[in-house]
């Protein structure tokens, strides 16, 4: 019963996000105001979407300073191209699309350095060896680090769909728009990403259950 309630709550959370567009200061209103020259409205857009965009980019690039820089680049590009946004109700999808492009461009140049860092990170070896779960006192800190490192081991496409679905709660349809992937590809990538993350994080999940 609890399980079904939890699932229902997740579904409704997704619908709630969409319904928020009908409130005052909806995305459509804000975009109309920015197009009319009201920069304050763009600040509101920034305040609303900066956190999810920053989290998303961080999940893709794995470096804080770089993620912050790319988040700013995303909003500057968004501002410059706002006139070309076709469907105002899809502002977040559009911003995630820009963020994805900005992050991918950056990853191209960072790839060699990043892969070296990943290989050097002792936690990767630990995750692959399925070592013993860490001490309870460190569980949260370690778990966050473990998730970050595990994400970094996924290939770019899987990390992208996993971050959009699991962390950003985007629908499959929205993910298809953001990534340009077919529905079949994104479902396969998501399934494999989940399986890979599960394999890497199993010790933490078991401890999490006990806590």
């Amino acid at each position: 019963m609890m399980k079904r309630l939890a699932i229902e709550a997740m579904r409704q959370a997704g619908e709630g996000d969409r319904a928020a567009g009908t409130l005052m200061n909806s995305a459509e209103d804000l975009i109309a105001r920015v197009r009319a020259g009201d920069d304050e409205a763009f600040r509101l857009i920034f305040e609303r979407y900066a956190r999810p965009v920053l989290s998303f980019i961080y999940d893709l690039v794995g470096e804080r300073a770089l993620a912050e820089e790319l988040m700013q680049e995303t909003f500057v590009r968004g501002y410059k191209n706002l006139a070309a946004l076709r469907d105002e109700t899809k502002l977040s999808t559009w911003l995630f699309g820009i963020a994805r492009n900005v992050a991918r461009e950056s990853l191209r140049t960072q790839r060699r350095k990043r892969s070296q860092l990943e290989l050097d990170d002792p936690l990767v070896t630990e995750l692959h060896d399925r070592g013993l779960p860490p001490d309870d006192r460190l569980i949260n800190k370690e778990m966050h680090r473990a998730i970050r490192v595990a994400l970094g081991t996924l290939d770019e496409d899987k990390r992208l769909v996993f971050a959009l679905k699991v962390f950003q709660q985007q629908s499959y349809e929205e993910i298809a728009v953001i990534t340009g992937f077919s529905m079949a590809k994104l479902k396969t990538d998501l399934h494999r990403a989940r399986a890979e993350m599960r394999r890497l994080l199993r010790p933490y999940m078991e401890v999490g259950d006990e806590v």
Binding site: K3, R4, A6, I7, M10, R11, G14, D39, R43, F46, E47, A50, R51, L54, S55, Y58, D59, R64, A67, E68, M71, Q72, F75, V76, R77, Y79, K80, N81, A83, A84, R86, G97, N101, R104, E105, R108, N140, M143, H144, I147, R148, K165, V166, F167, S171, Y172, G180, F181, S182, K187, L190, H191, R194, M197, R198, L201, Y204, M205, G208, D209
Partner: protein
């Protein structure tokens, strides 16, 4: 429902992506099958774990200040470029405006210039009649690409087709003037040297100058001269066609690795700004056809501008598919032909 079917749908179920009927069937199965219910439990627990994930990033107030500063910087740059243009317009208005026309000396100067031009036009027209009609060679704007396309004034469509099927190795767009009345890149096949008149030579020099100007503009991205609105739109449409053809050729050119489209991206970005302005102009003038054409072109320019420098094949295909669906190339070609006529 069997367990295999249920297992294949469990992730979509937890993600809230199943249709109502499928979700009901799966819920009914879960009530009876402990193993599948266990799978759902695990997925939900995973989701809860990920929901607790805290990243070491935070949106600091300074970030908005930095974004705003960069936006202001962009605006200033735009204002500077439009001020330069406004400055030229102001000078032209002052020089050729109504007040200037009232000055007798200025009016006299204009009359003399007009008479001179008329005399030159008559002289040139008389000399041109003596020469044979000539084929027009369309030259490439770039120094390297290896092919020229021969176009006669009667066959502009051939030029468009030839450009569309240009070798994929010629990655960059070619400057093609498909109309005899177009100003750029035209070299007449000369009549016998000893019969060349001064007017012919002048005409050729003028055409060569136009070729150089057009090539410089394309290569260096030099700012455009103020144009008649129709001419400006025609030139924009022509550039858009060149870009889209070049974009289409990119994938054909490089099959072994992700192609480099940084040039096309830059062009798309430039054209996008122009497109927005022209679309607004068309809307203000209630020119629905032009507005519709530019509105169809805009998202494609935006998509190309937002691609990474080395996009995946799927990204390129997706944009190409949209180009085909919107029949944008046809619409642009029709516009060009109508503008020429």
């Amino acid at each position: 429902m069997k367990c295999e079917e249920c297992s294949a749908l469990i992730e979509e179920y937890v993600d809230g992506e199943l249709s109502g009927r499928e979700a009901e069937r799966l819920t009914a199965h879960l009530a009876l099958c402990a193993a599948c219910a266990q799978e759902v439990d695990e997925l939900v627990r995973e989701q809860e774990l990920y929901a607790r994930y805290q990243r070491e990033v935070e949106v600091a107030p300074a970030m908005w200040q930095q974004v705003r500063a960069r936006i202001e910087e962009e605006k200033e740059q735009e204002a500077r470029s439009s001020n330069t243009s406004a400055g030229w317009r102001g000078w032209l208005a002052e020089t050729f405006g109504a007040r200037a026309l009232l000055r007798p000396a200025f009016t006299m100067a204009l009359v003399i210039i007009a008479l001179g031009l008329a005399a030159f036009a008559v002289y040139r027209s008389l000399n041109t009649r003596r020469t044979q009609p000539t084929a027009v060679a369309i030259h490439n704007a770039q120094p390297l690409p290896p092919f020229d396309i021969e176009v006669t004034p009667e066959a502009p469509e051939k030029a468009a087709t030839a450009a569309a099927v240009a070798p994929a190795s010629a990655k960059r767009p070619e400057l093609i003037r498909a109309s005899a009345k177009s100003r750029g890149s035209v070299t007449k096949q000369p009549a016998p040297e000893n019969s060349r008149s001064l007017a012919e030579t002048l005409a050729e020099v003028e055409q060569r100058a136009a070729l150089v100007a057009a090539r410089d503009e394309q290569v260096a991205g030099a700012p455009e001269q103020p144009l008649d609105p129709d001419m400006e739109l025609a030139r924009h449409v022509e550039k858009a066609q060149l870009l889209l053809r070049s974009f289409r050729n990119v994938r054909l050119a490089e099959t072994s690795h992700a192609p480099d489209i940084s040039y096309e991206k830059e062009q798309a970005r430039r054209l996008l700004y122009r497109n927005i302005i022209l679309r607004h102009d068309a809307a203000e003038q209630r020119n629905t056809a032009n507005e519709k054409l530019l509105a169809a072109l805009e998202p494609i320019l935006l998509d190309i501008a937002n691609l990474p420098d080395h996009p995946a094949d799927a990204d390129i295909r997706s944009i190409e598919q949209r180009m085909r669906q919107k029949e944008i190339m046809t619409a642009l070609q029709v516009h060009s032909l109508m503008a020429q006529n």
